[in-house]
């Protein structure tokens, strides 16, 4: 069979000593930068591009890919340990992962994330190998109207993430959408909400927003009670999950993998939605939805798997069409062009060694990551025994460097301070930052696709309903909305006089 011989060829390419070494360097470096708060895969890959000049094309792409998914692994570690998500996908992991860490279950949370990611990575790699070309055609069926409806569905799901008031979650989402509008309007070039600061002409920096809202707000929360109690729970229980916990994570991992694999194929926003979608799904399917937000293992297992599966399948449009699904993929295209490879549909035919070598290396890289990361769990957890008053200045220093390294823009650092304050105020007001973050990420895409869809349909708003995929997505959004509001209405009846905790 073709697939088998192709895969065999791929593994042949990927397992030469040199390529194994580059894969290892990539995942190690990726893990390192993923763990350091603030600094992300995009900045690192951008910096390493010149180094890859000297390498074989396959080796350089294997290394860059390793950095990419290594950073995904490492990013979850920081999200779980100090509530500091480096990428939008790990913002979801932070919700329950950090709560698990506070309850002394950091080891289990980290192990769950690693196991989920490995399973998802394995399955998704196989999917890439088998379905890359046919899956691409699905991605091409998505026009502006479909993307708009997909974003609506994603945003509605984000509201379901919240474990407090639905109204507040909706408000946070809208606030996030508005913050996402900051910057230059791509249709007319008009600056919006920039207060005349050119450094914000391309919008607020995601890392600055996430670090401020999540990380700095958390530091401030921890500082307010530091003379009365210890910030971190010192008694750390087991590091590895037991049989019961394995059983709890199995189904979420499978579902997360499916959701992530499917959404990852869609360029622009697909992979971002995956972890949010998985979280919502698990919360709805769980028999104990009240545990979510307070350290539910399924709330870590599902989104982490979805996130990693999405990261793998986002290579599909890159490899088959030469189209980047996210900024990291755009850099990979740059790396290919520098190497004299023209990205596009011809890569599979013209460069089979490269194509299959990269696919095989993805699996090898995932294997390396789990072998590396499971023993590291103990080490990471030990970090929590560092006194908090020593830990947080280090975190602050890392954040400052990380945020600055993204664009060398000092205004991003001022934004960190602003969003740290906002995040703290919002947490005092019991408003959750996750819907805000998703709104911020999806806001520009939502608007861009809405306006594009309207231009293409020449002002006819029914285009969202007459295109079948779009209509289906909107219907799904409606269904989720009903599911979210139903228990609210029901509980309102049950607790006429007692306020449900906000």
């Amino acid at each position: 069979m073709d697939l088998l011989s192709n895969l065999a060829m791929g593994f042949g390419v990927a397992s030469t000593p040199a390529n194994l070494a580059f894969c290892l360097i990539g995942v190690l470096l990726g893990t390192l930068i993923g763990v350091l708060p603030g600094i992300g895969a995009t900045a690192t890959i951008a910096m390493l591009l010149p180094i890859t000049f000297q390498l074989e094309p396959v080796s350089s792409l294997i290394m860059l890919a390793g950095i990419y998914y290594g950073a995904q692994y490492g990013g979850s570690t920081t999200a779980i340990l100090i509530n500091m998500p480096g990428e939008s996908s790990s913002a979801v992991t932070a919700i329950d992962g950090y709560q698990m860490a506070r309850k002394g279950r950091a080891g289990i949370a980290l192990a769950t994330a690693a196991i989920g990611s490995f399973f998802a990575g394995t399955v998704a790699t196989l999917l890439v190998a088998i379905f890359a070309p046919p899956l691409t055609t699905i991605a091409l069926k998505f026009g502006a109207a479909e993307y708009f409806s997909l974003m609506v569905l994603g945003l509605i799901m984000a509201v379901a993430l919240a474990h407090g008031s639905v109204l507040k979650a909706l408000a946070m989402m809208v606030l996030g959408l508005l913050l996402g509008m900051v910057g230059t309007d791509i249709y007319t070039g008009t600056p919006r909400f920039t207060l005349g600061i050119t450094a914000y002409a391309d919008g607020l920096n995601f890392v600055a927003l996430a670090v401020g809202l999540f990380g700095i707000a958390e530091i401030l929360r921890n500082l307010e009670t530091e003379h009365t109690r210890e910030v971190m729970v010192k008694s750390i229980q087991r590091l590895m999950p037991n049989r019961q916990e394995f059983r709890e994570m199995a189904a979420p991992i499978m579902r997360g993998t499916v959701v992530g694999s499917v959404l990852g194929i869609l360029p622009g926003g697909g992979a971002i939605l995956a972890s949010f979608a998985s979280y919502t799904m698990e919360k709805k399917l769980s028999r104990t939805p009240e545990e979510f937000g307070h350290g539910a293992i399924a709330g870590v297992a599902g989104p982490e798997s979805a996130n990693n599966a999405g990261a793998q399948t986002s290579f599909i449009p890159l490899l088959t069409l030469g189209i980047p699904a996210n900024p990291v993929m755009a850099l990979m295209i740059g790396a290919m062009i520098i190497q004299g490879i023209v990205p596009g549909p011809n890569v599979v035919v013209d460069q089979p060694m490269l194509f299959w070598g990269i696919i095989a290396s993805m699996w090898i890289g995932n294997l390396m990551l789990i072998v590396l990361n499971l023993p590291l769990v103990g080490l990471w957890v030990k970090l929590l025994s560092v006194p908090y008053y020593v830990l947080f200045p280090i975190i602050m220093a890392m954040c400052a460097i990380g945020v600055y390294s993204v664009d060398n823009n000092t205004f991003d650092l001022y934004a960190v301070a602003f969003f740290g304050l906002l995040g703290y105020v919002l947490s005092k007001l019991r408003c959750e930052p996750a819907p805000l973050l998703l709104g911020f990420v999806l806001g520009p895409l939502l608007e861009e696709n809405l306006r594009r869809a309207m231009i293409l349909s020449r002002g006819d708003a029914t285009t969202f309903l007459t295109r079948p995929i779009s209509a289906g997505l909107l219907l799904a959004a409606l269904a989720v909305l009903v599911l979210v509001f139903l228990p609210q209405i029901r509980s309102r009846r049950d607790e006429v006089f007692t306020e449900s905790d906000g």
Binding site: L178, A400, L450
Partner: protein
């Protein structure tokens, strides 16, 4: 604590949201709205500002007749020292360079804890600065200027 007849938190949230909606709404007034066919830069933000204002009003109104939860202690010291740290780093990194800027920022942030004594904080800042320089500047090769024009002759 639960003697209040209305929820202060939700009231504050409602007001904050209305203020934010007001800010964005006001900024939108200068933008072109456009038509359904060709939406201008102000079209979508205008809808969103309206929606946010509405949500703020709803949250504000719902707060009446409900019990309030306390705000709890507020980390004034934390805010006063943590939030300026990235700002000071931003103000000085170009002029003083990476090393002095990071040292100052870390030193300031470290003062946010009441448990931090002067000498340990100094040691911490030195160690963090040295390690970060090694990792980021030499290890990852970030193109930072270690010492800027203000400290060079």
């Amino acid at each position: 604590m639960s003697t209040n007849t209305n929820d202060k938190t939700d009231q504050a949230t409602g007001l904050l949201l209305m203020a934010a909606a007001g800010f964005f709404g006001y900024q939108t007034t200068g933008l072109e709205i456009g038509t359904m066919f060709r939406m201008g830069p102000g079209y979508f933000p205008m809808i969103l500002s309206g929606l946010l204002f509405l949500l703020g009003v709803l949250i504000f109104l719902k707060s009446f007749g409900r019990t309030s939860e306390p705000f709890g202690t507020i980390a004034w010291r934390g805010m006063a020292l943590i939030l300026p740290a990235p700002i000071i780093f931003g103000l000085t990194v170009r002029g003083l360079g990476f090393v002095p800027a990071l040292f100052i920022a870390t030193l300031i942030a470290a003062q946010a804890s009441v448990k931090m004594r002067p000498l340990p904080s100094l040691i911490l800042a030195v160690v963090v600065t040295i390690l970060s320089t090694l990792i980021f500047s030499y290890g990852l090769g970030l193109p930072f200027r270690l010492f800027g024009p203000w400290v060079q002759f």
